[in-house]
Each structure stands twice: as structure tokens, then as C-alpha cells.
Symmetry: C2
Subunit: 551 residues, 2 copies
């Protein structure tokens, strides 16, 4: 049947078009659904309808009449939760880490060599074989491995493998040759070249000498970034992560997003923060980009840094380090420079996400936010990334000016003994102070900082509600008064993480009008133990109503 | 009425969706339509139907039954031609030229000062007032103008104005102050600072001394690129140009396209050629981008250069310049380097567009194409940009390997006396040899090189068929045996220009499946005199079925 309308018939036609439902509504029924609304309240449901655009149109309770739809999926009573949002990751680095060989689980030199050979064989197009994680002590070798041993398994391409601690690297002969390193090469200051009794190169380079070979590793090309993005998406989706805040996106990484999205290959949703004001303005011009590719990509603003990390004593503290009283850390960005950069972003309504770890750094960022808020009013959502150590006197200030603390629960469990050493026993009250921030009226967004920690939101939720690690340590939790409720933990990885990236109304909640990004899982994170949450099995992952993972 | 389909009804629904016409077909009827098909044949029609996507669905001859449609436009017997395609422009530069003050039509200092004041007033946000075209001789001033005279009309912002010949610039006091230029400043080698009797600065700087002030002009910011793109689009559309080949697109220009297109503000269609292999790969990765934004943007490949221009004796000639026997031009890219760059592009199926003006440059490009064609087979469409002076012995080679000569008819009329001087009377047989290239089986694409020449395809067509300028000089045409037919001229600015950018099937012809990019004009370029073609009045411009210019 052919339908043809004359101009007169158009008015009626348009009305019809507006009121007719989309042609392919899908109902996922018989689920044990849970989502957190914008006010942190739990909503439970048993059926979800989404349309052809992948947007939720109805959320159904047990008694609600089911609409007639084109497609119907039986959830078989599984738990449905929103796709997890990781508010702070480094997507490119996740991908590049996945592209290098991980030797950390090898128990002997032979096992390592076998793995290296296999990896080289599996990756014929890779010009250099790069890896990390070897440890001759763990192997019981009693000496460093040698270039000759590497040559025996890979001689056609250069190989460079970092030791587990990153303080040494092991090269094959071709790598040394391409780098122009010979027996005559001298180690630079702060470095050492391991030589044999005859003074010849053995293939192992220590500390700053690693750069003698490392400088020859070619910069990744656009095709490498494409591969890294594809791998990172795979890993994230496998972990139930359907959206991320990508922090300090580089020019190459931004273009990798564009290339993927232009080909329909950007599957996760990305709230991006540029690594420089130049890139921010190049991409966004006079403000953030629109939401692009059906809410899959937006440049929100810029990532800034005010200090370093606690482990390397780079975090800027108000008082000296307990375990190195001569230093109290390092401000990477001077106060005036920070304010200038924040102004430059705020003038264009770009969002700023500022790395601040030490209590001095956090205090300075809070000062800067207070000052800028006088000029730049409105809904700014100033983000502090990490916000690990906060002077308890400053915590109430996190409840003002719309500050968002973007925090990583797994950092707390990984870092606690290190934090105790760095700060001493008397300065831990404001360490990873999640509950205090909420009580002060502040907003949290949770993430992983992957690849620094695994991009595993279930492990993150478990840490957030228990402050214990995967082994249940310490018993009862580390400063357990700073745990958050299960609901807050789920919100931190869903609705609040979306809000932190101006994505509310688009994704993060299973509510009408938002994208149908959801997981089917085998247990309810609001009901089971922290340890059980860590063991969550993901049955399927849907983004925009399209199944992207699962049987 | 609400329509709801169960799963069972879906098959029928889908069929219906496939066969039903779009809801808003438009018929433009009662036109005198003409287009050139892919084989260079003229097609005439009187009605055109396009759909909601802005694609042509039917082309109707006089006797054809008119379909029932939603919208109907009466063409009132006007001539309909495809939107003009300018195969070689510099969009950013068109825009930036439009953003600076043009003083070339001023006849007195007073008139110039008035215009400067007006421009400053009209552009309050412009941090520097930049302009060009003043000439104190034409003004009858008998001396250079002064900074004090400029200060009297603009003192709140720096002003820098180039003389008509580009060999001097006129600054106000603030510009000199911001540049740190004082009475004590010495002129660099090759430059001169005009001083008064007391040795004080007058505000005029000659040749290399222009840079003393010019270096302080701020680089354009992304917002400036946005403005430039908007202005360039306006100018192009006003000239009936609906699509362009943009040559040597910079990183900033590419991002300006993205920013505009993301906001739905890219109106013209752009076949882009990157200005470096790095940008080409950053944007395209392992190959050209897909056609983006409904066929409005594609990165086709890269622009390369092998020589300079004829006017500055930079074009590489086989024999020395007639008017400077000591030189035969300059190869900007060495043969090996050219081949490496071409290979790098061809490996990724990127297209190469190579600037070659002199006969030696063209011979070298043809050699390179022959060599590369042995490895890189398939539909490569190697483009030679300008191809102005070709050794007649080489012309047959333009008919091989799918070479496309991308030429600018207005260059011929502007340059002819200069070309005579540079080459002497005996070496003009292969100068702008359009018809010879066609006869050799080569393909032409026509453009303007705007802003070097005006982006006026009607002036271009007139030059192409007459080899006379706007004054009808020289009588009978310059080497008139190299004129092309009217049909070939129209094809050069429509179907052939599209083919040169891999856009056939998308735009360039008014045929089913291609985009409804068309002009209504007041005369038929296939029927009127060259002089009449130059006077063509554009009644309206449509891109993708949307009217973008006209009453």
C-alpha cells in the first residue's frame, strides 16, 4: 500500500506522527529493577519499556498493565540496575595497558619467556613488544634476566619490558641496537647499566638508564589509539561500565573518539575533560560541545592539577609528611595560575575538574572556588578529583558552591597503610571522608581512576560501604564512620556520576526520557554483603537499548 | 488515533515503512532545469522532487505526470542549475579576509579614516583592527599617513593596516606601544622605519620592518575561526557556491568545521584536504573520514606542494624564466619526499591533491603518479592543483592513471600578461591548456583558489569558455583554442568537481539519489554570452532542499 498525502492532508499527518508510538518499542519484563533517582531515593520496578531511539519510555511496577510492544524480553527475574558510570578514568591508558604484555603473574623465567613468545606471535603488527611486571626475585632466578634470553624468543622486533616496580627494564638486542646503545654507552646520572663481567651489556637498565632504550619506543599512531579505544571499551563494558568521565583527554584521544563515533564504533558514553586549555578551546570553541552521537560524547571542560600523589609525597599537605618531615609536598599549579585557568574555562561555561589530593591542595581549590563563584554564578559543578585528604575544618566548605567531590573508593582500600605512614596516626580524620562530605551537604561521584585501579564499580561499591579490601581487611573497616550507605554507593556510580558530568536527564537513571543503559546482574547490590557485591556476575549489558555484552 | 503493533504485526509494519513515501516530499515545478550527468551530457528538466532528507527523488520532463506531494514551489520559469562546486578554495582565508578592513576603494585619507572609524565601531569585540589596501599615491597625499592620524579615529585598540602592495604597514600608537617599538628601535635588515625630521616614529613600517609590529598581532582564537567560517559560508553561498574543495585545511580550521557542524551550522559541503600528514592521520586515522553530517564534511586526504607560483618566479620550470634567466624556480618538495608523502597517504587510501604550477613541477608529479600507480592501484583520483604550465609533451600523460587537473579559469585571465613575461612568447602552448587536457582524456575540475581570486563560478565559467577577462580582453580570447565548451565549463563547476572529491552520487548533479543542492538563476549559462554569464543573478540557493539564500 502506498500512502500519498497532498498538502491539505499534511496537518492531520503531522498530528498522527506526533502521537503515534515509535515502531519498535521493547519491553524488558520480569526483572527485579532498581535505580536511584535524582534525590538519592531508591526506585524499584519490574518492567522497563524503551523505544527505537534507545530511550526509556515507561518504568513499570509489579501491578502495572504491560503495554503492547514490538519486542519483549523476559528478564527471568534477574536484577536490573543502571549501567555503571565511572566518574574518573583514563580511557586511552586503559587501552594501552591492555595492549602491553603483563608478566606480573609469571613464576619463572621460562614461563615469562613462553608468554613473551606467545604475545609476539599474537601481535604480528606491533612494531615493538612492550610489557611490564617481571620480577626476577619472584622467579627465584638469583640474577637479572638477559638480552640473550629475550633474543631467543623474539629477535625480529625490539622488546622492552619494565620490571614490576618500574625501576628497571629488560631489552632484547634489537631494542638496544635501534636505540644506539652499545657497550661504550655510559649510564646517565641516576641510572645504571647492568653489565657482565666483561663489561658487556646484559640487556637490563636501571632507573634513569631505562630512557636510553625507552626513548626509541615509537609514539603511538592514530591506528594504535583506535585499537586502544576499542580494547578499553571492551574492558569497561565487561565490567558493567557504560559511561565514563575521561580525565585529561589528549588531542590524540579526542580524535580517536571522533574516528570511532563517526563509524558508529563508540559504544560507551564519554564525558570528556581536556588536558589543556588549548585543546578545550580547539574542540569546544566558546563552550562545551553539544552532546554528540546520541549522548555518547561531550567535551565538558578541562582537567587541572594542583598537586601530585600521596605515595610519591607529591600531594600538598598543610603540615610536613610524617614519614619525611622535610617536605610537605608540591603545588604543581600556583594559586594565581590555577585561578587564571579556572577563569578561562568558566568564561566559556566549561566545567573544571581539578586534581587535589593533599589537604593544602584541597583547601586551595576550595578557596579558588569560593573566589570564582563570586564572578561565575550559576550551575558550575566545580569538580575536585580525588579529594583524598581534607582538613576536617574544610569539609563543610564542600557543601557550598555546588562542589562535587569525585572520589575513588578503591584508592582508600589500596592506600590506607601508605596513608597512615605519610600522615601519621593523628591526621587521618579527613582521609577519604565520604560520609562527612555527604553530611556537609556535598555531592560525591564515584570512580576508579583506571588503569591505576581496576575499573570495577562493584569492587568500588563494596569498598564504599565497608572500607575493607577484597580480603576483608581491616576487620570492621578502616575509619568505618566514613562508609556510605548502599544507596549512596549506587548513586555515586550512577545518578550522581551522571550529575557530575551534566548528564542527568540523559543517562544514569532508569527513568522515562533517559537512555536505556542497563545491566542484568545476578544479585542486588542493595541487599547482599560487600564481599558478595564484589562477586557480582554480569549477565548482560545494554547501552541505549542495544545489547553490547552478554550471552 | 494511537497505533500500537504487537510483535506479530511487525512484519507488515516494516513493509509499510519501507514503501510509504517520506511525509514531506517537495516538488519544485515550472523550472528551466539543466544539469550535467556523469558522462558530461546535458540533461534538461522542468520539475524536481526531493524528500525530507533533502535528496532528489525524481527529475521530471515537461510531459511527465506530476506526483502528489506535500509542498510545491513554483519556479516561475526560472533557470535551475546544480549548486556550484568550487574545487579549490581556502575557506578559512576567505573568512579572515572578510574580517579585515578593505581600504582599496578609498580615494582620500579622510575617506579612509572615516572607514576605519566605522569598522572599529562595527567590530567592538575585535582586539586588533587589521586592514589592507591603502595607497597614499591614489589619495594624492604626497606623503605617508601617520600614527597620529590613526590615533584620532582609533586609540583604544591597536590598528595595523597593510598598504595595497603589501610592502608597507601603517600602525597607530597603541599598536607600536604593544609591540614595544620606540624611537630607539632599529629597522631589521631589509626593512625601513619611516621617521619624521626629529627621528620620531611616524607609524609607517616598510618591508621586513612590518614584522616589528606585526609580530604582536594575536593569533586568531577558536572563536575567530568560527566567525571566519560563518562569513566564508555567507560569501560562498551568496555566489551560488554550495560545496567546496578546501585545500590545506589546518588543525584550527578542521575543528571550526566540527564545531559548526555539531551545532547544525555547517551549511556548505566540504571536501577537505589536510595541510599535513599528521593532521590527515589524526582526523582520518587509517583512511578518509566517512561522509559526515549528511554529506556536509569529509576529510578526503592531503594537500601537498611541489613548487611555488609563477608571479614570484617560484613555479618550477623546465627552462629558466624568460624574464630572469638566472632562475627556473624552486622545488618545495624533493622528488623522494614527494613520493614518500604520496605513499603515506595512498597506503591509507587518502587522496592526494598536489600543487604544481610550472612545467617541471607538473612533469615531476606525473612521474610520481606513474610510479605510485604501479603499487597503489584502484580508483585513486590523483589531483594536480593548478596545473598551469604543462609541457605539451606531457599533456597526454594527464589522460592516464585517473589524474584530475584541478584548475582555476580566473587565474588564466588574471595572469596572462604575467605568464607571457615569465615564459616568453614561445612557451605558452601548454599554458592553462584546458581543452588539450580534455582531448588527452584527462578530467578537469574547476575552482577559484579564493580568496586569491573571487569565489565566483559564473566569472569562472565565462573565463573558461572565452579566455577573455571581464573587460572582454584580449579580443577573441587568449590562445582561444584552449577554451572549453559551455557544457564542460558547467561540468567543471558541478559534476566533475564533485567527482574530483569522491562526491559523485551525493551532490553535483540534479539526479535521483543526490542531494537537492540547486540554484534558481535568471539566465541559462549554456545559452548566453560569456559577458552575460558574468552578470548572472542568483534568485535563490538551496542546499539539501533547504533554502539558504534568496528572497
Amino acid at each position: 500500500m502506498m500512502l500519498r498525502f497532498t498538502f491539505r492532508a499534511l496537518a492531520a499527518t503531522s498530528l498522527l506522527a506526533l502521537t503515534a508510538p515509535a515502531l519498535a518499542d521493547t519491553l524488558v519484563d520480569n526483572v527485579d529493577g532498581v535505580t536511584i533517582d535524582g534525590e538519592g531515593k531508591v526506585l524499584r520496578f519490574t518492567g522497563l519499556v524503551f523505544d527505537d531511539d534507545g530511550k526509556v519510555t515507561q518504568v513499570l511496577a509489579r501491578g502495572d498493565e504491560r503495554p503492547r510492544v514490538d519486542y519483549r524480553l523476559d528478564g527471568e527475574g534477574r536484577v536490573m540496575i543502571p549501567g555503571m558510570i565511572d566518574a574518573h578514568v583514563h580511557v586511552g591508558q586503559i587501552g594501552f595497558a591492555a595492549m602491553t604484555l603483563d608478566l606480573s603473574d609469571t613464576n619463572s623465567l621460562d614461563e615469562a619467556l613462553q608468554k613473551i613468545a606467545q604475545f609476539a606471535n599474537d601481535n604480528p603488527g606491533r612494531p615493538w613488544i612492550l610489557g611490564r611486571g617481571w620480577n626476577q626475585e619472584k622467579w627465584g632466578l638469583g640474577r637479572f634476566p638477559t638480552a640473550a634470553e629475550l633474543d631467543a624468543v623474539v629477535s625480529d622486533r625490539p622488546v622492552l619490558l619494565d620490571r614490576a616496580d618500574g625501576h628497571a627494564a629488560w631489552a632484547n638486542s634489537l631494542a638496544m641496537e635501534q636505540a644506539g646503545v652499545t657497550a661504550a654507552t655510559k649510564a646517565p646520572a641516576g641510572g645504571r647499566i647492568i653489565r657482565d663481567a666483561a663489561g658487556k651489556l646484559t640487556g637490563v637498565f636501571v632507573d634513569s638508564a631505562i630512557g636510553l632504550v625507552g626513548k626509541s619506543v615509537p609514539d603511538p599512531r592514530p591506528a594504535d589509539y583506535d585499537r586502544a579505544l576499542a580494547l578499553a571499551q571492551e574492558r569497561l563494558i565487561a565490567n558493567g561500565v557504560t559511561a565514563v568521565g575521561d580525565m585529561a583527554v589528549s588531542m590524540h584521544e579526542w580524535h580517536a573518539y571522533r574516528r570511532a563515533a563517526d563509524l558508529g564504533q563508540l559504544r560507551i558514553r564519554v564525558m570528556a575533560y581536556a588536558n589543556s586549555p588549548e585543546l578545550m578551546e580547539l574542540v569546544g570553541g566558546t563552550g562545551p560541545t553539544p552532546w554528540l552521537y546520541d549522548d555518547r560524547l561531550r567535551l565538558n571542560g578541562i582537567k587541572l592539577y594542583v598537586d601530585g600523589a600521596l605515595g610519591s609525597r607529591g600531594a600538598a599537605l598543610k603540615e610536613p609528611y610524617a614519614d619525611e618531615p622535610g617536605t610537605s609536598g608540591l603545588a604543581l599549579t600556583k594559586p594565581a595560575q590555577l585561578r587564571n585557568l579556572m577563569s578561562r574555562a568558566a568564561m566559556g561555561n566549561f566545567q573544571t575538574a581539578i586534581h587535589a589530593i593533599g589537604d593544602a591542595a584541597n583547601a586551595d581549590v576550595l578557596n579558588a572556588i569560593e573566589e570564582l563563584s563570586e564572578t561565575y554564578t550559576g550551575d558550575r559543578r566545580w569538580r575536585i578529583e580525588h579529594a583524598q585528604i581534607i582538613d576536617p575544618a574544610d569539609i563543610p566548605r564542600l557543601g557550598q558552591h555546588g562542589v562535587i567531590a569525585s572520589m575513588q573508593p578503591l584508592h582508600q582500600t589500596s592506600d590506607r597503610t601508605m596513608a597512615e605512614a605519610r600522615l601519621g596516626p593523628d591526621r587521618l580524620d579527613g582521609a577519604y571522608p565520604w560520609r562527612s562530605i555527604i553530611q556537609a551537604g556535598g555531592r560525591l561521584a564515584f570512580g576508579s581512576d583506571a588503569p591505576v585501579e581496576p575499573a570495577d564499580p562493584f569492587a568500588g561499591m563494596a569498598a564504599a560501604i565497608s572500607r575493607t579490601d577484597a580480603d576483608g581487611e581491616p576487620f570492621g573497616g578502616w575509619f568505618p564512620q566514613e562508609t556510605v550507605s548502599r544507596e549512596a554507593a549506587l548513586a555515586g556510580f550512577t545518578s550522581d556520576a551522571a550529575f557530575a558530568g551534566f548528564a542527568e536527564g540523559r543517562f544514569g537513571r532508569l527513568m522515562p526520557g533517559e537512555r536505556a543503559d542497563f545491566l542484568l546482574v545476578d544479585r542486588d547490590p542493595l541487599l547482599v554483603s560487600p564481599d558478595d557485591i564484589r562477586q557480582t556476575k554480569i549477565i548482560g549489558v545494554w547501552i541505549g537499548g542495544i545489547k553490547v555484552s552478554g550471552e
